[in-house]
C-alpha cells in the first residue's frame, strides 16, 4: 500500500541504460527488513546502500555532526532515501527533517516505511516533505512503482 504526495502513473516497460542505475539509501534498524529491502531494490536494478540507523545514514550522506560545511558545492550521492519510521534514537521522521534542512539533500526524495497505518503519522511525514509513505512489509509491486517514479524524475 502506498500513500503518495505526487500522482505517478507508469507503464511497466521502462528501460534503463547500463550504468544508469539509481542509487538508493535504505535505512532500517531491523536486519531482516534491511536485507529484504535491499533485495527488492536490487531486483529493480537499483544500486543499494543500507544503514542501520539515522545517525549512520546522515554520516553516509555527509551530514554527520563532524561533517558540517563539508557539503558545500557537492552533489548528493543518492537518488532516493527510503527509511523506516520507528527506529531507536532518531526516528525516520527526524531523519526526514534533517535531510530537508540540508541545501544539498533537500531535493532527494525521501520515502517513509512503517508497519503501522497511522493516519496522523502519514500526514505528518507527507507535510514534512516525504515523497511517499509505504506500509510494511514491502512488496515487489511497491518497489516497482518506486523505480518508475525515480526513472520519471530523471526525465
Amino acid at each position: 500500500m502506498l500513500y503518495q504526495s505526487m500522482d505517478g502513473g507508469c507503464s511497466d516497460d521502462v528501460t534503463t541504460e547500463i550504468g544508469d542505475e539509481p542509487h538508493v539509501l535504505a535505512v532500517d534498524d531491523n536486519l531482516i527488513d534491511r536485507k529484504l529491502v535491499e533485495k527488492l531494490l536490487k531486483n529493480s536494478s537499483c544500486k543499494v546502500t543500507t544503514a542501520e540507523n539515522g545517525l549512520r545514514a546522515l554520516e553516509y550522506l555527509g551530514l554527520g555532526s563532524d561533517q558540517r560545511n563539508a557539503m558545500e558545492g557537492t552533489v548528493s550521492k543518492v537518488n532516493l532515501i527510503i527509511t523506516d519510521y520507528c527506529m531507536p534514537g532518531m526516528t525516520g521522521y527526524e531523519l526526514l527533517k534533517k535531510i530537508k534542512e540540508s541545501s544539498v539533500l533537500r531535493e532527494v526524495p525521501v520515502v517513509i516505511m512503517s508497519s503501522e497505518n497511522v493516519p496522523t503519522r502519514i500526514s505528518q511525514c507527507l507535510q514534512e516533505g516525504a515523497q511517499m509513505f509505504m506500509l510494511k512489509p514491502l512488496k515487489q509491486s511497491d518497489v516497482k512503482q518506486l523505480k518508475c517514479y525515480l526513472m520519471k524524475c530523471r526525465g
Binding site: 531482516i32 531507536p88 508497519s115 510494511k136 512489509p137 515487489q140
Partner: protein
C-alpha cells in the same frame, strides 16, 4: 522416494503451511525474490529471522524476570519480533505479537506472562516446519531435481 514424489510432497507440505495459517502471502513474496544470483536467499533471510527471534525471545524472558518490569523496553522487542515475523510471512507469530504488544501497552504483567510462552511455542513450531521444508528442498536438489515454485 523418487524425485517426483519428493516434489509432490514438498508442494503439499508448503500448501498445508499456508492453509494452517503458519505462513501468509509475504512468504510467497520472499520466494519470488530468490533468483539465480541469490539461490539461497530464502534460507538466508529465514536463518536471520531464527537468530534474531531467539535473541529477542531471550531478552523478553529476562525482562519478565526482573523485579521492576520495563514495559517500554519489552514493547520495543515485541515490535521488532512483530516486524521480522511479518516480513517473512510467519503469520501466527505476528498475530501473537500484536496481542503481546497490547498487554505491554496496558502494562499487564499477567497478560505478558501468559503470552510469552505462547509466542515461543508458535515460533518453535514455525521454525520446525520451515526447517523441514528446507530439508525437503535440499533432498530434491540432491536428487538432481529443481524445487517446484
Amino acid at each position: 522416494m523418487d524425485l517426483v514424489q519428493l516434489q509432490r510432497q514438498l508442494v503439499d507440505y508448503r500448501t498445508s503451511l499456508y492453509h494452517e495459517g503458519f505462513l501468509d502471502e509475504q512468504f510467497t513474496q520472499l520466494q519470488e525474490l530468490q533468483d539465480e544470483n541469490n539461490p539461497d536467499f530464502v534460507v538466508e533471510v529465514v536463518s536471520l529471522f531464527f537468530e534474531d527471534s531467539e535473541r529477542l525471545l531471550n531478552e523478553l524472558s529476562n525482562a519478565l524476570e526482573q523485579q521492576i518490569i520495563d514495559f517500554k523496553r519489552m514493547d520495543a522487542r515485541v515490535h521488532q519480533l512483530k516486524g521480522s515475523s511479518s516480513s517473512i510471512g510467519a503469520q501466527r507469530v505476528r498475530q501473537l505479537c500484536i496481542v503481546f504488544r497490547n498487554y505491554c501497552e496496558a502494562q499487564n504483567v499477567e497478560g505478558c506472562l501468559k503470552c510469552l510462552p505462547q509466542v515461543k511455542h508458535e515460533y518453535s513450531i514455525v521454525k520446525t516446519k520451515l526447517e523441514s521444508m528446507f530439508q525437503l528442498e535440499q533432498q530434491i536438489l540432491n536428487a538432481g531435481g529443481s524445487v517446484p515454485v
